[in-house]
């Protein structure tokens, strides 16, 4: 069986891992006074070699608030998904890359299918390449400090002042 060190993963996975690595420092900067814990998990996707990636646990005064759990790089109509999971609820964080980098995926005939589509057709709130919170019903918000705190409050019930 192939393993991650075989360096066989496609760019989609590499970019996803990089985007997760860029996300965590931002979140840590936004959440002053919190404690963080990272733990590696394995992600298995059919078109990728199983790979390790860190979940980010977020605590306040030793109480678990929520965690960011990476879900995968191969996502329908997006370019990466991580879930924000708390005791009360769960929301998805989605990453969209520049459409000009045209998403593609191999099909059964070993040809390439284009899976890129104008984001504004499918989502309300798209503003360009970045992480977003998906609220459901096709509504998304660019992930800023304010939006992250709102999402965290929704999943954990904790209001960060």
């Amino acid at each position: 069986m192939l393993e991650e060190h075989d360096n066989f993963n496609d760019n989609t996975v590499k970019e996803f891992k990089q985007n997760i690595q860029n996300l965590y420092p931002k979140v840590k900067r936004w959440l002053k006074g919190m404690t963080f814990w990272e733990e590696n998990i394995n992600i298995h996707e059919e078109y990728a070699v199983p790979y390790k990636i860190a979940e980010l646990y977020i605590y306040k005064d030793d109480n678990f608030l929520c965690k960011i759990k990476p879900v995968g790089a191969h996502i329908i109509a997006a370019d990466g998904r991580a879930d924000l999971i708390g005791k009360k609820d769960k929301l998805s964080l989605v990453f969209f890359k520049d459409l000009s980098q045209s998403n593609t995926e191999a099909n059964d005939s070993n040809e390439i299918d284009n899976t890129g589509i104008n984001r504004n057709v499918l989502y309300e709130g798209y503003e360009g390449t970045q992480w977003y919170v998906s609220w459901g019903k096709r509504k998304i918000s660019l992930l800023t400090e304010e939006i992250f705190l709102k999402a965290m409050e929704e999943v954990s019930g904790y209001k960060h002042l």
Binding site: H44, E45, E46, Y47, V71, G72, H74, I75, I76, A77, A78, R81, I85, K87, K88, D89, K90, S92, V94, N103, T104, E105, N107, D108, S109, D113, N114, T115, G116, I117, N118, V121, L122, Y123, S134, G136, K137, R138
Partner: protein
């Protein structure tokens, strides 16, 4: 079948989603319906499994629309040979790989949209063929409403390019 079927499926899903929100919020509702777990994550998991059924439902409606459109594209049958040949094509049309039909649609719609339909089909296959617990998912959804919209847009392409049929002529006497 017209494309209002997709609105109906979405409406049914929305009702289900709202019922799950109620179930999550209200412990009385949970005890009334005999749902014993109080772990919200389990309720979320139940809804995720139900979402998959709605994806199967929406994709099946789209596939029916697409295959009906293939039949509509058969020309009129003016003699017995044509009628018999058309009957063979009709019977076999159910077995045409849907990917071949979707590739044709790329000429009439944004190819990116058709690529997304193929992704949804891969996900549908994994769920519908009982491989959910056996294999890794080829792709994963984020928002089921986005999936509904992708399917609805592809269905609109079909109806925008539909054939206005002549009144039906009974050809059964040829057979």
């Amino acid at each position: 079948m017209d494309i209002s079927i997709f609105d109906e499926i979405q409406k049914r899903y929305e009702l289900t989603e709202n019922l799950f929100k109620l179930l999550k919020k209200n412990s009385n509702v949970r005890s009334q319906v005999g749902y014993e777990s109080n772990h919200f994550s389990e309720i979320d998991d139940e809804l995720e499994a139900i979402k998959d059924l709605f994806i199967i439902d929406a994709f099946a409606a789209f596939e029916r629309l697409l295959r009906n459109r293939v039949l509509d594209s058969l020309g009129s049958q003016e003699n017995e040979l044509s009628v018999r040949l058309a009957k063979v094509v009709r019977n076999e049309s159910e077995y045409i790989k849907i990917e071949y039909l979707l590739d044709v649609l790329k000429n009439f719609a944004d190819p990116g949209r058709i690529g997304l339909i193929k992704q949804i089909k891969k996900y549908r296959d994994r769920v519908a063929h009982g491989k959910r617990l056996l294999t890794y998912s080829p792709v994963k959804p984020v928002d089921i409403y986005v999936i509904f919209e992708v399917i609805r847009l592809a269905a609109v392409t079909l109806t925008n390019n539909s054939i206005h049929r002549q009144p039906h002529v009974d050809t059964s006497t040829f057979l």
